[in-house]
């Protein structure tokens, strides 16, 4: 490449400003590697079929939206393991309320966002006011939600109207609505973290709560806010899933492993579990990496249980790629 030093500088500044994390190189490598495997062992559609490429992104939408929420929480040095069941409760409640009628859609959306806000609020309050480790606290709330859903719904419940399926299936020009939503959510996450006081304060809380408090931040409120936003992102994922599945079932959240995968993608994207640094662009790359892997496994026709095994291994290895160099002992 032959660029003058000035434009090089500008490029560097641009890169720094939008903060493209190195994980994107990793994404490219995995995409190329997966594509080559696909060329050798299968029909090689990953490189040739545009629909598959688009499909990778559409598949990533559900995980991507909730992962953005998870990123906010992890930046605040907290964690949310209740997102999977929040997704489930959204899916069943919304399709239960809609009952296939378009006129019920606004009410359903209102109710599920209400539930999401409530869950986030409860998570945040338990963590900040009772001072319980966020991992235990959200596992606890997750169990509570699970118990309530399983006691109330046992199978597919209700259905969503055709009109609501546009979220999952329709396109705006050549681009699926789902992708536009994902991009909007990621952009909103970036804006919140980098351009607002809330974001700056969240980094403060995550970096060092004591510093935050001494700087006059209302640390509890900031963290509760992050938890509410995270639960709301889970609700959005739930709505997206139900619009694609046409009916909600209590297992959509846990079966999709949205709790674990949202955390793994966030960490892969360069947000430290200890909080205080990172951002949503990295998380998006993490999500796309998982999407590519999923597509590659499908292309290769892998046994679904073996796929679960590999997913577990990949999550661990992905996190390890960031942690193994650390000098501190993990526990």
């Amino acid at each position: 490449m032959t660029t003058t030093s000035i434009s090089d500088n500008r490029f560097k500044r641009f890169m720094r400003n939008i903060n493209i994390p190195p994980v994107y190189y990793f994404l490219v490598v995995i995409f190329l590697g997966g594509g080559i495997l696909d060329q050798i062992f299968s029909d090689g559609q990953i490189f040739t079929n545009q629909a598959i490429l688009l499909n990778i992104i559409v598949r990533s939408v559900a995980l991507g939206i909730v992962a953005v929420g998870q990123t906010l929480v992890i930046v605040g040095a907290s964690i949310d393991l209740s997102v999977a069941y929040t997704i489930s409760i959204t899916a069943v409640m919304s399709s239960y309320i809609m009952q296939g009628e378009t006129k019920n859609v606004p009410l359903a959306i209102l109710v599920v966002f209400g539930i999401g806000i409530l869950i986030g609020l409860i998570n945040g309050l338990i963590i900040t006011k009772l001072k319980i480790n966020s991992f235990i606290a959200t596992l606890g709330t997750s169990l509570i939600i699970k118990g309530i859903i399983n006691a109330t719904f046992s199978n597919y419940t209700g259905s969503v109207p055709k009109s609501f399926q546009f979220f999952g299936y329709s396109t705006l020009g050549p681009i699926p609505v789902a992708i536009i939503v994902l991009i909007l959510v990621v952009f909103a996450g970036w804006f919140l973290l980098n351009r607002t006081k809330f974001g700056a304060h969240l980094y403060g809380v995550g970096g060092n709560v004591e510093v935050g408090r001494l700087s006059g931040l209302r640390t509890d409120r900031v963290l509760i806010g992050a938890h509410i936003l995270c639960s709301m992102s889970a609700v959005l994922t739930g709505l997206f899933l139900v619009s694609r599945l046409q009916s909600g079932a209590p297992w959509v959240g846990p079966d999709g492993l949205y709790d674990l995968e949202s955390i793994a993608t966030t960490v892969v994207g360069g947000t430290a579990l200890a909080g205080g640094k990172g951002g949503v662009w990295g998380t998006l790359a993490g999500v796309l990496i998982f999407g590519v892997l999923d597509t590659v496994f499908n292309q290769l026709g892998m046994n679904p249980y073996l796929k679960t095994v590999l997913r577990g291994a990949i999550i661990v290895l992905a996190v390890a790629s960031y942690t193994y160099r650390s000098k501190k002992e993990a526990a």
Partner: protein
């Protein structure tokens, strides 16, 4: 304090109204009176040091001024008007800012983001980034460090001294009239201290009043105009620096003079064989380390923060081992690859940071003392190997030896005082049967009384033929304790000095002597 001085003080006090004044402040904690009826005045444009032993009440007083504690009784007057704070925020709003000993910056955020954390210039919650950086740049320029520190630099990329400057910038951004600094020089090198000194002078000229706590009298005399001495929560007195000598202040602090401070040095005939010999050893922090340690001697290691003192101790102890060169232990060449090996070879390491590296806070004293004994035995070893019965005898013996004050050895260590915790740590190493002891800052953050008893204990060890390597950043301690002194600079041993060398001699070597210009240049150019 003489009657004359008192009158002089009152005279100046009447001339100008004090910026900040406390009247009859008392503060009780369960079991202790931390502050007892203390009254003090801080004038505008004054640099005022507060000194005293640990537990004298300095920190409590500062925290009350900063709004972190609420006093039980007494008044705080700001420019003659009564104020009361229930939250640090309120004190900050009134222009009283405190810089704590631990840094209060976020490492992964920029300088500007740190300075204005919680007060970002914004509209509708959206930050005006340009303004944020501009304001920070102006502030940095105001304190004259704009060439050293960029507003967009990550705090983690700054040196300790630069971070301290950012903290000061942050304090000024609150329009601070009173700046309180808790041991500001503890982590700084000699040149960096100078830098801080210049800045404090500047602040003083602007009419700010600077209050700082310190354990190091040398710096107190460099920095301050007035010294207030606290003892056991009571005010001993306030003196002007120009009227007193350091020894006077020490006398005020403890009621005795410096001379009784250290036990006598060892005699040459007491020193035995070389037990530890390091030759041309290096690792990523250290270059070409060579020295010998003899039985019965205290080998002092002097050097500034970052000179490689602690790293050398860690290398000998196998925490971060040497990667080249040779290490001979009692005449046998060996590699110490981890602490377990070191302990097995009877090396003990009393670390610098008691809380994070020394004690197991939630475990009983008993288990803390027995930890090294247990760790050198096989993990799979027979359950009763160091047996309950043997431990029953060993623990009280150790407790007596180091004089731990407790009603039961089953008490959790977290409930002991700092001095007692340090004694438990010491007992742990005595239990391991070590005959080479490494002490890293053995008396940091400990009151004078406990200091003396630890110094005596170290000397007693050498009398039993134990070899001691003692790292310290306090020159009086180095000079008072060492039979020989190694001075470190920039990761290597700059030179060796005999016992009773003078402070300037050590300091010259520790600052790199001839290299001194180089250090300054590096500092002036900012971190490379």
């Amino acid at each position: 304090m003489t009657e004359e001085q008192k009158q002089k003080d009152e005279k100046t006090a009447n001339l100008v109204q004090p910026l900040l004044e406390v009247q009859g402040i008392s503060k009780r904690f369960p079991g202790v009176v931390a502050l007892d009826n203390v009254s003090l005045k801080f004038m505008p444009g004054e640099i005022h040091a507060v000194v005293g032993e640990n537990g004298a009440g300095k920190s409590t007083l500062m925290k009350i001024l900063a709004g972190a504690y609420i006093p039980d009784s007494g008044n705080i007057l700001l420019k003659g008007e009564k104020v009361s704070f229930s939250h640090p925020q309120q004190a900050q709003d009134e222009g009283i800012t405190i810089i704590y000993q631990e840094f209060n910056l976020l490492p992964d955020r920029t300088v500007a983001q740190n300075i204005f954390l919680g007060r970002e210039p914004s509209k509708l919650g959206i930050i005006d980034i340009r303004k944020l950086n501009k304001n920070a740049a102006e502030l940095l320029k105001e304190i004259g460090v704009e060439k050293m520190i960029a507003p967009t630099a990550m705090v983690s990329s700054l040196s300790v001294a630069e971070q301290q400057l950012v903290e000061i910038a942050k304090a000024i951004s609150f329009n601070a009239k009173v700046l309180i600094m808790d041991e500001p020089t503890a982590a700084l090198t000699y040149t960096e201290v100078k830098l801080l000194l210049d800045l404090v002078q500047k602040l003083k000229e602007k009419g700010m009043s600077v209050i700082f706590i310190s354990h190091r009298l040398v710096e107190v005399f460099d920095f301050a105009e007035k010294i207030t001495v606290l003892k056991d929560g009571q005010l001993v007195g306030t003196v002007c620096v120009k009227d007193v000598k350091p020894a006077d202040v020490v006398y005020m602090m403890v009621g005795r003079t410096l001379d009784h401070y250290f036990p006598p040095l060892g005699k040459p005939e007491d020193f035995g064989d070389v037990v530890l010999k390091v030759t041309n050893a290096s690792n990523k922090f250290l270059k070409d380390i060579s020295f010998e340690l003899r039985k019965g001697e205290v080998l002092g290691i002097a050097g500034l923060q970052g000179s490689g003192r602690t790293e050398m101790a860690q290398a000998v102890f196998g925490v971060v081992p040497f990667t080249s060169g040779s290490l001979e232990l009692r005449g046998k060449t060996m590699i110490i690859k981890n602490p377990a090996t070191a302990i097995k070879n009877r090396i003990g390491f009393v670390t610098e940071d008691r809380k994070s590296e020394g004690i197991l806070p939630k475990q009983p004293i008993r288990d803390n003392m027995l930890l090294t004994v247990r760790s050198i035995q096989s993990v799979f070893g027979p359950i009763f190997k160091n047996g309950i019965r043997k431990a029953k005898k060993l623990v009280p013996e150790l407790g007596k030896q180091v004089d731990v004050r407790t009603d039961s050895y089953d008490r959790e260590v977290q409930y002991l005082s700092g001095g007692n915790q340090q004694k438990v740590v010491l007992a742990k190493w005595l239990a391991s049967d070590a005959d080479i002891f490494i002490f890293d800052e053995p008396t940091r953050g400990i009151d004078v009384e406990a200091k003396a008893s630890i110094h005596d204990m170290i000397r007693d060890l050498t009398k039993k033929g134990i070899a001691v390597l003692m790292i310290s950043s306090e020159l009086p301690e180095i000079i008072g304790m060492s039979d020989r002194v190694l001075v470190m600079w920039d990761g290597h041993i700059e030179g060796e000095l005999p016992a009773k060398s003078s402070e300037p001699e050590i300091m010259l070597m520790a600052t790199g002597g001839k290299h001194i210009k180089e250090t300054q240049d590096v500092l002036a150019a900012g971190k490379e």
